[in-house]
Symmetry: C2
Subunit: 354 residues, 2 copies
Amino acid sequence: MKFGILGSGSWGTALAKILTDNGESIYWCHRSEKVIQQIKARRHNPQYLSTAYFDVSKLSLTTSVEEVIKNSDAIIIVMPSAYAASTLKGLDKNIFEGKKIISAIKGILPDNNILLNDFLKQEFNVALENYFAVLGPCHAEEIAAEKLSFLTFSGIDEAMTHEVAAHFKTDYLNTVENNDIYGVQYAAVLKNIYAIGAGIAHGLDYGDNFLSVLIANSADEMAGFLRKAGVQNIQVGSIEHLHSTANYKQEILATEQRRTNYAASVYLGDLLVTCYSPYSRNRTFGNMIGKGYSVKSAQLEMNMVAEGLNASRSMYLINQNIKAEMPIAETIYRILWEQLDGSGGFAEIEKTLV
Amino acid sequence: MKFGILGSGSWGTALAKILTDNGESIYWCHRSEKVIQQIKARRHNPQYLSTAYFDVSKLSLTTSVEEVIKNSDAIIIVMPSAYAASTLKGLDKNIFEGKKIISAIKGILPDNNILLNDFLKQEFNVALENYFAVLGPCHAEEIAAEKLSFLTFSGIDEAMTHEVAAHFKTDYLNTVENNDIYGVQYAAVLKNIYAIGAGIAHGLDYGDNFLSVLIANSADEMAGFLRKAGVQNIQVGSIEHLHSTANYKQEILATEQRRTNYAASVYLGDLLVTCYSPYSRNRTFGNMIGKGYSVKSAQLEMNMVAEGLNASRSMYLINQNIKAEMPIAETIYRILWEQLDGSGGFAEIEKTLV
């Protein structure tokens, strides 16, 4: 399996490191020829995660998206969600035929308000069984430092998910597999919204006691959304089996154990690392909002993409259909997009917390 | 309802502040007459949480445990679990007749390996309906600073639980109620074990990515134990109702929603604040173990009680009956009590994480 990477930020650079450390030769797309020359000369990406060094003999560097795709069996797409559509614009509609796509995108495509797999289906007829997500609690800086981290690989083709994951497993990276392809992507989107919430709370001068209550309730709200969005996936068969047994309690327990574990690293773990890290850009953005910055000034000041800002709007719209109870995410949406006062919004959130 | 407090550490002092800020007059037991005189003269507890100031006209201070109990309708017991039995030793067996007990103890009584309610039943014939627990994510320092915090009041007498909680609700303290009296106490015990685990991991130089995976999996392990320990509490009636409806999915969802929410603040919130706080004594203790201190030297060095040390042994023994899968808690037990090497133990934990 030959890998290509579209995306050259911190996380793309971390994934390139993992694969090449594992002996894989990869195609890797960069926008700037100058950066490509610097990587060749200095063996690291000067712009992002510059502490990660490469065996450059394993890198085929190019500015051509098309070249990466054509030379790869599996294409990793790793960039802020807002750039995905424009990066793929103008490509041949059949370019992904016979290819696997591995998404490391932690957001919703803002123009269409859909996940990447739905966009790829729509624009390039990519089937869901050829689509995988790699997500989980992973600061890129800790990959560069080779601190043990966990990534979860999701796909509905379980055998192929296992094969893909195997290429990433190294001494500093453990892999987990699941088949909840929509759930893991929504979780990655939602956690950015809740990290903004944690930041706003911090900016409003709430303490650690409150923060833990807020994050715990955010975890529950996320699980409630995922459960409701994914309710069609519940294995009804196992419930029907209940009829035939007198031992309900055992069966309930067994049924429960077969269900998606929303405390796994790709759900709760990612939420925790994002909400508790003072380096999280979403939390930092939220902190500025809590301190009284307008959304516009906070964006200008940060000069980077806080995925959670667009995500709060996207998830608000998506939840118009799912209709999960999301008082925290909805209040954050209203603070960011409808000029709701931060402290007024949090006074409302307070009432919903348990 | 007249309140008495047995316990004069940080958390006892915080609870005394909450009640007197709410206008309650309380009896409060201190071991030292000198401290009592200092509180009267200086309006604060000089030894613990000295930033909390009192309206001393509301305090009846005494060194007599008996006097506190006899003059109170509801007695708050708030001290390290290891001191509870000796504090109550020698008291009349009927002294708690007609009284309510409110436990703020976050541990298991080490000599008997039982929760306080079982000890009080055994020694003083206190009925479970007269026993309440007040627990949740609450650094005492933030109560002193009047930062908004949440406490959960648990009891099987729901009306009385509500009445007790009402006395504590103030502008900086929100109250939550539930009836999971065993579950909340076990959660308070388990979270100290997992905080030691987080500390060991930090001491062993794991990073934030790993820590979030460990804590998320700890939350799941805790929920698994509580679910299994409390499986007799599942409302089977609601499951039987499944038979009569074709709409399984809706029913499963509704059933799920009636179940205990282990992401609530008293479960997940308390776990988070304890695991993530660099000031948590359990985490600090674990950090020293991870750095290579022996259990004995870490204890000597800290000169304070890390509840999780005894708790790890107690829960290991209790789980011999419950038989929940607890690879994290059991490994921590083996590191602390069976000389298992920390890094070897964590290499085993790594394999179980998802």
